[in-house]
């Protein structure tokens, strides 16, 4: 029996599909296995790099990726990384999120023990390219304005963009995006103030 005739048999179709699916899953399993450790390492390096970016150089000497504590924030556990120098805790790092113009904006922030921000970075966002993406450090140094700010400095009503009589710049054509980032950072500082004991304990 030649191939053309076999191909037309009813039993051949599911068999072919099954074999193809099996081979595809096998290939994916092999590749997943081969790439898994490399991906995990690259992601851990990413996290370490971004955490290090919001932390001033030389402030901490511990492996803050390992020194974590989970605290409930809005009903969800939030991982908090704690940076220490020797035995003294110097800063805590955590992620906050706020809804921007087009989806959630993920913000990573470092707060020192006096409740001042040491650094803020936007990790992930889907804001309009060319307008809202100035919140990325790669595109604009706007996000550096948060350095050294605390809940008392500026005063709570000044925690907003200039359009809302706050101290932070908005961008031409995009107010919602910076407003969301300001709100996220302020929320983060308030969260730190409210849960200080849980976080440092």
């Amino acid at each position: 029996m030649n191939l053309d005739a076999i191909r037309e048999k009813i039993g051949y179709q599911p068999l072919l599909l099954g074999v193809v699916a099996l081979l595809a899953s096998g290939a994916l399993a092999v590749v997943s296995d081969a790439t898994g450790p490399a991906i995990a390492a690259a992601e851990a390096k990413d996290l370490r790099d971004s955490l290090s970016e919001v932390l001033p150089v030389g402030l901490a000497d511990n492996d803050f990726l390992k020194d974590t504590v989970e605290v409930q924030k809005d009903g969800k556990p939030l991982t908090i990384y704690r940076a220490r120098h020797g035995s003294e805790m110097k800063a805590v790092l955590f992620k906050v999120a706020e809804r921007g113009y087009a989806g959630d904006i993920q913000v990573l922030m470092a707060v020192d023990m006096d409740g001042r921000t040491l650094g803020v970075r936007v990790l992930k966002h889907t804001e309009t390219p060319g307008l809202g993406d100035k919140i990325e450090i790669k595109k604009d140094d706007w996000v550096l304005d948060f350095n050294g700010k605390s809940l008392g400095e500026p005063t709570p009503e000044k925690w907003g963009v200039k359009k809302d009589n706050g101290v932070f710049d908005q961008f031409a054509g995009a107010t919602i995006t910076p407003r969301a980032v300001v709100k996220a950072v302020k929320g983060g500082l308030e969260f730190f103030a409210a849960h200080r004991a849980d976080i440092t304990g």
Partner: protein
Amino acid sequence: MSDTGTNYGEIVKNGLWEQNVVFAQMLALCPLMAVTTSGTNGLGMGLATTAVLVCANVLVSMIRQVVSAQVRIPVFIVLIATLVTIVDMAMNAWLHELYKVLGLFIALIVVNCAILGRSESFAVKNGVVASAVDGLAMGLGFTGALVLLGLVREFLGSGTLFAQASQLLGPAFAFLEVKVPGYGGALLMILPPGAFAALGFLLAGKRIIDRKLAARESARAAVATA
């Protein structure tokens, strides 16, 4: 059809111009519009798509004798989805910096109908080498369209050309990055309506060029018969 009688010049010409995925076949418009906010994005998406297109064409061509007509579509889709997932994982693992720029677009390649289209219309009927050439030519034609549309929108919308190309291609390519001084850009071109408008003008432009070429061809034919 055997490999020996294949006209590779014709395949390349078809891929780049005559049967261009975007400008002639009007396929893959969804990823086209979505990613072309800059020339760099277009280039990255185009190259990733070309890689998948070549691999998919080669694989489909290799198994074309055993795949029956009735179940060919699911078989091809499983193949393409597997390929894209492998590319996605491999890039994430070993080209992590590039993946951070392109990662979002890679998964989109699965739904690029141009890839299934080439499997269906070319690879399933042709030899492995011809299919690889076809995949490469079609991919480069698609890349060309992506880069062109990306550059037009980026130039009008942001006043830059190939912004952040060095992030994608490496610091050596920083010379590609151009910034028009004193021009902030028209936001509309970066937003979806700008994609439709720019694509419309590019399609009209291709139509005009094709018509001019056809007119010249018929004029030459008239002279030859006279």
